[in-house]
Symmetry: C2
Subunit: 312 residues, 2 copies
């Protein structure tokens, strides 16, 4: 059994490759939910949905969120009411949020609803929220003149296009959150634990912040293998560089290695970063060099195979 | 100032005619909300929306609910989750329900939200819910074999196409409901009170069931004029016949007159029912005969003018 810690688009593409080289039913993805928020009154879980839609082969091919072939009739119609529509939800995507919200309001857990949604999409892989409790990433930014302001994750990332300089990140609610059902047991029982190529600060960071998960990973350190989301000093996609730097993490595979060293025995780094393998090793993490840029699902499968081989 | 008691499509068409012959800002419609319900977790107010969309000129031209030029992408996508989608909400219409639900969840009253929605649609006429409290029409039907079952209004009307025989109707919550803000004062102050051609049982009935409203109307009986929704023994649209008969109300303008006699001094009946004017008068209601079939907005304007003239 393979357990994977996952954020959004990078993780989703990696997992799509992984389920080409192993039995999809042998994989469980534990997904970040600290980006979850309410929009237009609906419960939106960006990373759960990105992983779900990608494994279903229904994801938008370029934009990194949402479904292919979307329309935005509901959003366009909401404009009439002066509603904030900077977080654009497509019409097909809205059905997911309507269903999730109603089920949560009925008392179902996020874990239960996620299972229903992934089953409805025909996904054989188990997708688990990191927690059924609410954890919310809050980004403190510096405005012109030095004034600080705390933003919700999507306000910073989507509404403000990740432009305001970040001075701090916190995961509100994490201290009181419990890992999702079975998450700790699955980490303990997994043959391999993968850390997908996701943002170390705001995708993997919240998962680690749920009490118990980091300790469970530390206990499996020799079976934990990560894939660096940073290639040649820049993230493949997303704003990792705008978060790692201000928080004192070098924007490189070495910075990732140092951040993960306590619980991650092996890190797959890109061939373009081969020259930094010695520094990764010096951080106490065994470096494995491979081509990691996932340009399509076939390449993602090769990356996944390299990653599995790294701890075989 | 003209106050109109209103249900759904019949009232909406009448009001569209009325605002052609009087200043739209002089009209206030008090609208039935006992058909309101939650669908897919969203607060839907069928009669408020039918009146709003019709006065905005945006209503579907035939079906009697919803907007013209609708798509149903969200509903079609909900089918994936096995959700009940017999109550079809269009994509443009959904924006209204999303906005209403979020505002109600934020603590706004239905009266406040309705004002926001009608303003957004550019409507000069004031549209008021009969009450901000929840009143729910419940229809007791007789199943094959005589078993009785209580259905929500839309379950009976939409899901079961008004087919199961009705044995009783109740308005759950009506006894504890309060009239919407200003409703009683507006009835007292109105120059004319109109009872739109709506279903007497489930459209006008719930309004009358809100404590205080019937008494306020009785006090203005000589200024209250109704329009019979029954022409030649049949409703123009909707299931009034399937409700009036079982409840002991003759399906005719005479039955309407007897039902309204306590608070309604004048009833406009169709020219086709001229032969029954004496029976209406015998019920204590002054009959005024006019062509009342509202085939288009121009004819509706003439019907409205006849109705105003009836108490001029």
């Amino acid at each position: 059994m393979i357990l994977a810690l996952a954020g959004g688009v990078g993780a989703a593409r990696f997992l799509r490759g992984l389920v080409r080289v192993v039995d999809p039913t042998s994989v469980t993805a534990v997904v970040n939910t600290a980006d979850d928020d309410r929009f237009h009154g609906l419960c939106v879980s960006p990373d759960l949905d990105t992983v779900t839609y990608t494994l279903a082969g229904a994801e938008h091919p370029e934009q990194g969120w949402g479904l292919a072939d979307e329309t935005f009739t509901v959003m366009d119609s909401l404009d009439r009411f002066g509603a904030d529509t900077w977080f654009r939800l497509g019409d097909r995507d809205l059905a997911t949020h309507l269903y999730r919200t109603r089920r949560l309001d009925e008392g179902a857990t996020l874990t239960e609803v996620t299972a229903e949604i992934t089953t409805a999409w025909g996904i054989a892989t188990t997708i688990l929220p990191m927690s059924d409790d609410r954890v919310a990433t809050r980004v403190t930014v510096s405005r012109d003149g030095g004034r600080r302001e705390v933003l919700a994750m999507q306000e910073w990332f989507v509404r403000e296009r990740a432009n305001p300089p970040v001075v701090a990140v916190e995961f509100a609610g994490a201290e009181a959150a419990r890992p999702g059902p079975n998450v700790l047991a699955l980490i303990a029982a997994a043959d391999i634990v993968l850390v997908c190529p996701s943002n170390p600060v705001i995708s993997i960071g919240p998962i680690l912040a749920v009490p118990g998960i980091r300790e469970a990973l530390v206990a499996r350190r020799d079976r934990v293998v990560g894939v660096s989301p940073i290639i040649s000093g820049a993230p493949v996609k997303g704003p990792a560089d705008r978060l790692m730097g201000p928080l004192g993490i070098e924007v490189s595979c070495v910075g990732v290695a140092r951040t993960y060293a306590e619980f991650c025995g092996t890190l797959v780094i890109d061939a373009g970063d081969a020259g930094r393998a010695a520094e990764v090793n010096a951080a106490g993490v065994r470096a494995v060099v491979a081509d990691t840029l996932m340009t399509d699902a076939r390449v993602a499968a090769a990356v996944a195979q390299h990653t599995l081989d790294a701890v075989a």
